[in-house]
Amino acid sequence: MSRKKALLTLLITLAIAWGSIGAMLLAGWAPKLGLDLQGGFAVVLVGPEGTDPDTLDTAVEIMRRRIEELGSVQEPEISVQGERSIVVQLPGVDDRERALEAVGTTGEMSFRPVLDLVLESPALTDPEGDHPDNLDLVTGLSDPDDVHATIAYLPSEDGAFVYIVGPAFLTGSDMKGGRAQFSGTGGLGGAGGWVVVPEFTDEGGEKFRLATGSLATYPVGAPQRRLAIVVDGVVGSAPEVAAGVSPDEGLDPNQVVITIGSSENPQAESEDLAAILNYGALPTTFERERVESVSASLGADSLKAGLIAGLLGLALVTIYMIIYYRVLGVIAMVGLTVFGSLLIGAIILLGEFQGTTLTLAGVTGIIVSIGITLDSYIVYFERVKEEFHSGRPLRPSIDHAYPGAFSTILKGDTVTFLAAVLLWLLAVGPVKGFALTLGIATIVDVFVSYYYTRPGTWLVAHSALGEGGWFSIRGAMGKSSQPSIPAESVEVTS
């Protein structure tokens, strides 16, 4: 290794490590914190044995839409886990009730008659009037909604209108599901368009026939001719019973299509509605298997504890390494900043592009990896000492020790990396976060050892700190009472 090459390698490594983390921090990127560190809410929902994967996917979609409506959630993570579980993670959510509602297992769907359509709740426009008694004081809307209430004030999905609705004709248990499809003859004016085809149970179909028959007694265009499809207290859609339907017969439940009116994206809207019908059709299948809610202050405490413990550990380790290894200890500690920059950088990048969050288990993984990376230095430095004590001069010892040390480091990191991969593949929940940081750490460690430690140590050995006094590398080797005797005698005999 030449001085120029060593210096160049070292500078490039430092530039990559410190430069990239500096750039990320300047750009305002930081690791995305998991809900155990910033507070939040997590639920695991489990479907019955043998749940269809499509059903799980549909449920995930519906929950995602509902959660997005919550607004305050930063990065909801909703995913299918294993055969029949859904994991919902809502970091930063502090409104427990609404979050639970969003992923609610009771997602109740009902078909209700529209009594009137107004712009603002009558409870607000006419405070003295006669109103249902379960109203929210601020919004004037029914909350909680009771599907069997004789009268309820419910918002439209976009919040622009308030529907005054009657008791439910049908509920989710009357539905089998629904599907969105493009109909050549459907749509407004028969011009073709997206429609939703609901499917009823036998009993539900009969209820539907009676319901639409009673609505058909109202004139076309009247609000009372509309059928509100209500999901969790919000009117998702309120189609009007088509002209020409006989009040005596009602609509044939097997031939019903719900036409999507003027909309910017009729396909999405019809799929939403179909999803709602489908979800309403599985009202009791999901069990709340696990609920975890971490208050923001507890999360902050954990983060603080992790950070303080990490910093204190670092400080103590620094003292230990420098007393023991002198200038080599300094090399190791500077190397730790290179290692740390790369590791944190990788976590930030994963957070930005994959949405991976840093959890408490991840933080402990980082703390554990401090030991792993320092071991690489120790393995190398001990080899150098061994070479030196066998009689080799200092600089050749440093060169000669590296290949053997690197082989050991590589072996060790491979074992740890394999363990991390296994953990990642087999484990669930927090263990995954730990496995991730551990796995990244082993890769970074090999990189740092080759591109930082080797040139760095070489340069120091060829500087004044190589042979000069207590603090130098020579000083860290310990005084040799009989320098170079064993090896030289060996050299002679061979």
Binding site: A305, G313, L314, L438
Partner: protein
């Protein structure tokens, strides 16, 4: 030279295999005690495995324990475990509850603690989920052990694999025994810690075995297997100690600062298992894995023959060449076995050619 100076310079000649005859008895006793402990006092599994509900809330109202209990009685949770921590938290643990009872519990605990409902931390786990987590953990452990055994057999040999696994079992059982003894809670984090311990312990053992193999190549003509193992362990001693120190210091600060001083309870069991495990892992790779291997290999015909030959050459009876006497001898021979690795193999070159033995 003081022992410390010798250690610093890597010139120690501790007779690890000799000492280990005694330490193995201690280890075996600890393993048996731990097994008894585990039978008598089963592990305190967290709700993640058993299912259950834990509610944590800051006790702003300063409610005392009888108040909390009575309000829990009112909602039919008389069986709940209630704990008031030193740092002003109320911890309530119940069996697995349905969604409605969970909500009720949250409302009640918020009321009794005088906080907002959203400041309540709840962790509720259903029984099936816990069973799945347990199953996944056991599965991970078994696969890990099999892969490791295959890896060591492939890289080294099967006797080393079994010795390493024996050391792992030693670490695991004693860690389990300590957890059972003190009633520490076993959480998924503890399981992570245990898997990490396995990694550490194994890595340590692999480093020792790596050195043993290297030295067998260099020294097999003049030294018994036991002596080679002893030499190898003396050579890696400082690495083992330093690595353990630099691993234990951050974990120790996590344990003491993170969990005791700042009250981050989630960290405590994890750091505890790591701390005990890393210390045990270092110990077992030196005092369990390597001595077991040495004793086992000494029973191989080749190494018995070697032992006899060495004894003859040194002019003593076989018993005189026990490991304990060798180190002092070694210091007086010019081509000491502490040197061979550094001398690129020259030191241990055989005076007469013999076929290489594994």
């Amino acid at each position: 030279m003081s022992v410390l100076t010798k250690m610093y310079r890597g010139e120690t000649h501790f007779d690890f295999v000799g000492i280990s005859k005694k330490t193995l008895i201690v280890s075996a006793a600890l393993v048996v005690l731990s097994l008894v402990m585990l039978l008598v006092r089963p592990l305190n599994l967290s709700i993640d495995f058993t299912g259950g509900v834990i509610v944590t809330v800051e006790n702003e109202a300063g409610a005392d324990i009888t108040v909390v209990r009575s309000s829990l009685d009112d909602i039919g949770q008389a069986g709940a475990r209630v704990q008031l921590t030193g740092d002003g938290l109320i911890l309530i643990q119940t069996e697995a509850l349905d969604a409605a009872s969970q909500d009720e519990l949250v409302l009640t605990s918020a009321a009794v603690a005088g906080t907002d409902v959203n400041a309540v931390t709840i962790d509720a786990v259903g029984p099936t989920f816990g069973a799945e987590v347990t199953q996944a953990a056991i599965q991970a452990l078994v696969v890990f052990l099999i892969v490791v055994a295959l890896f060591i057999t492939w890289r080294f040999e099967w006797k080393m694999a079994l010795s390493a696994l024996a050391a792992l079992a030693h670490d695991l059982i004693i860690t389990g025994g300590i957890f059972a003894l003190f009633g520490f809670v076993v959480t998924p984090a503890t399981v992570i810690a245990i898997l990490t311990i396995l990694g550490y312990s194994l890595y340590d053992t692999v480093v020792v075995f790596d050195k043993v193999n290297e030295n067998v190549e260099l020294m097999h003509d003049q030294y018994t297997y036991t002596e080679i193992v002893n030499t190898s362990m003396n050579q890696v001693l400082m690495r083992s100690i330093n690595t353990s120190m630099t691993s234990l210091i951050p974990v120790g600060s996590l344990l003491f600062v993170g969990s005791f001083a700042l009250g981050a309870h989630t960290l405590r069991e994890f750091a505890m298992a790591l701390f005990i495990g890393i210390a045990l892992g270092t110990y077992s790779s030196i005092f369990v894995a390597a001595p077991l291997l040495a004793m086992w290999k000494e029973r191989e015909p080749d190494w018995i023959a070697e032992r006899k030959r060495v004894a003859r050459r040194r002019g003593g009876s076989m018993s005189a060449v026990t490991a304990a006497t060798v180190p002092t001898k070694v210091e007086t021979v010019p081509d000491a076995p502490t040197a061979p690795t550094g001398a690129s193999g020259a030191a241990a070159r055989a005076p007469r050619k013999r076929k290489k033995r594994r």
